[in-house]
């Protein structure tokens, strides 16, 4: 008989860990808290349906070819967790390691790509520079001619990169959490956090109050609003990020294509649709209403790469809200101001890629009190200490 993926539950009065945000980061943290650390009395609260935030709005691109010695091993560990996820969860997350190409159209972006290739190679991540002829062999549909306003000069080729079915990741984790009796509470909006003597005692929700041993803020674009409830200021600005999808064509593109110069990313799903993404909108907003100029930019830049697709129709356009930090690196750790208030925020446009490893590290931090080495560089205190992470230099487009 049909088995439910997860079950509706009634909200209890107290939990060991209350996780605000039931997206991939919250689910992964809950999963590892339960699986590795034996913490079971966990509630995941979400104001919408399961995975209704950025977990279901990103363009589902995975890669580990970051720029910094902090970023590279961290995202590499994430890709490795994704590689074993289908088997671990008994649920196919449709991870397709089809390879990822970041294009350079200018001298400066070419140098940026070389820095990444070099650092990746030194740190054991498979990526290398390739040039137009090889790009054309790999992606026969792409225009490498010089008629383009900004012709393609080179690409960073990253074989382990690829795409995944993002909703399947959410559902797979949710099912696994439910099997451990971790509670998932959709449509449960957090309205306040009671803090006394530097401890978060209680989380108020639209379905009642719950006492919490620890509180974790994993609300991406809304991170500032939740942290504010606990009196924890953040160096985060929320920006919209938009993407769109076209009608299906017979598969012709089996690589992920990203152009930092043109601010666009392109991949083709197993159904044949093209998923196209933009850079973040250049102003703060929580609106989530998609805009025409951004759609026009995405389309124009896609045609710069694939001019033959002019007759292909866009079917849907959507937006998510991204939590951008000053150095384009996340903030993971315990708040300096509130001792049992944890954060896994500041994910900008790269949160989905990091979900599993961020969840694993955050779970370890909450369960043991010790900060895993992989996330030490991402501590909330780094801004005060003047130790910013150098991803920003390469983050013009980050999928």
């Amino acid at each position: 008989m049909t088995e439910r993926m997860w079950r509706p539950r009634s909200l209890q009065s107290s939990y060991d860990v209350v996780i605000i945000g039931a997206g991939i980061h919250g689910l992964a943290t809950a999963y590892y808290l339960g699986k590795r650390h034996g913490v079971k009395k966990i509630a995941l609260l979400d104001k919408g349906y399961l995975g209704s935030g950025n977990s279901g709005r990103n363009t589902a691109i995975l890669r580990s070819n970051y720029r910094t010695p902090e970023g590279i091993p961290f995202y590499d560990a994430s890709v490795k967790l994704y590689e074993q996820m289908s088997q671990e969860l008994g649920w196919n997350v449709l991870f397709s390691q089809c390879g990822h190409l970041t294009l350079a159209h200018t001298d400066s972006s070419l140098i940026g790509l070389r820095v990444r290739a070099e650092n990746n190679q030194v740190l054991g991540v498979d990526s290398k520079l390739i040039f137009p002829d090889e790009i054309k062999r790999m992606v026969p549909a792409i225009d490498i001619s010089s008629r383009a306003r900004f012709p393609i000069m080179a690409a960073l080729y990253h074989p382990p990169g690829g795409v995944i079915r993002h909703d399947a990741v959410v559902w797979g984790y949710a099912r696994a959490c439910d099997r451990m009796d971790i509670e998932i509470h959709p449509y449960t909006e957090v309205t306040g956090i009671r803090v006394e003597k530097g401890r978060a005692l209680c989380v108020a929700t639209t379905r009642g109050n719950v006492a919490a041993g620890a509180v974790l803020n994993v609300t991406a674009g809304w991170a500032s609003t939740i942290s504010k409830m606990a009196g924890v200021p953040l160096p985060i600005v929320s920006h919209q990020l938009q993407a769109c999808v076209t009608e299906p064509l017979k598969p012709f593109l089996d690589k992920v294509i990203v152009s930092a110069t043109l601010h666009v990313y392109v991949n083709q799903t197993d159904k044949g649709e093209l998923v196209l993404g933009a850079e973040i909108d250049p102003y703060q907003s929580y609106s989530m209403r998609s805009t025409l100029p951004t759609l026009e930019q995405i389309a124009g830049h896609t045609l710069d790469l694939f001019p033959q697709l002019h007759g292909l129709r866009v079917l849907r356009q959507w937006a998510g809200v991204c939590d951008m930090t000053p150095d384009y690196a996340p903030i993971i750790g315990r708040a300096e101001e509130v001792e049992n208030f944890y954060m896994d925020v500041g994910w900008g446009t790269y949160g989905f890629k990091a979900g599993p490893i961020a969840g694993q590290c955050t779970a370890e931090l909450i369960a043991t009190g010790k900060t895993p080495a992989l996330i030490q560089a991402f501590s909330p205190g780094r801004f005060r200490a003047g130790r910013l992470v150098g991803e920003k230099a390469a983050a013009a487009v980050s999928s």
Binding site: W222, P233, L234, P282, Y283, Q284, Y286, S287, R289, R384
Partner: protein, 83 residues
Amino acid sequence: MSFLLACPECGERSAYEFRFGGEVKSRPQQGDSEEAWFQYIYTKTNEAGEQEEWWFHRNGCRKWFQALRDTRTNTVIATWYPE
């Protein structure tokens, strides 16, 4: 980015013509506490609601002005030149 902003000089134009300059903050004095400077440089209110912020009319008069905008709906309530 298609909501409208009323530039005090040029009138109502698409937000696409402007550059966003962030939330309005007041700058500490030299000699103020380290904490005040830290908050000024890094911390953001990131208001989900009405917020005072800077905008620059890039494609128009090329002047900075301030606006009160609801960041949830992108409704601009008022615009003015800073004093």
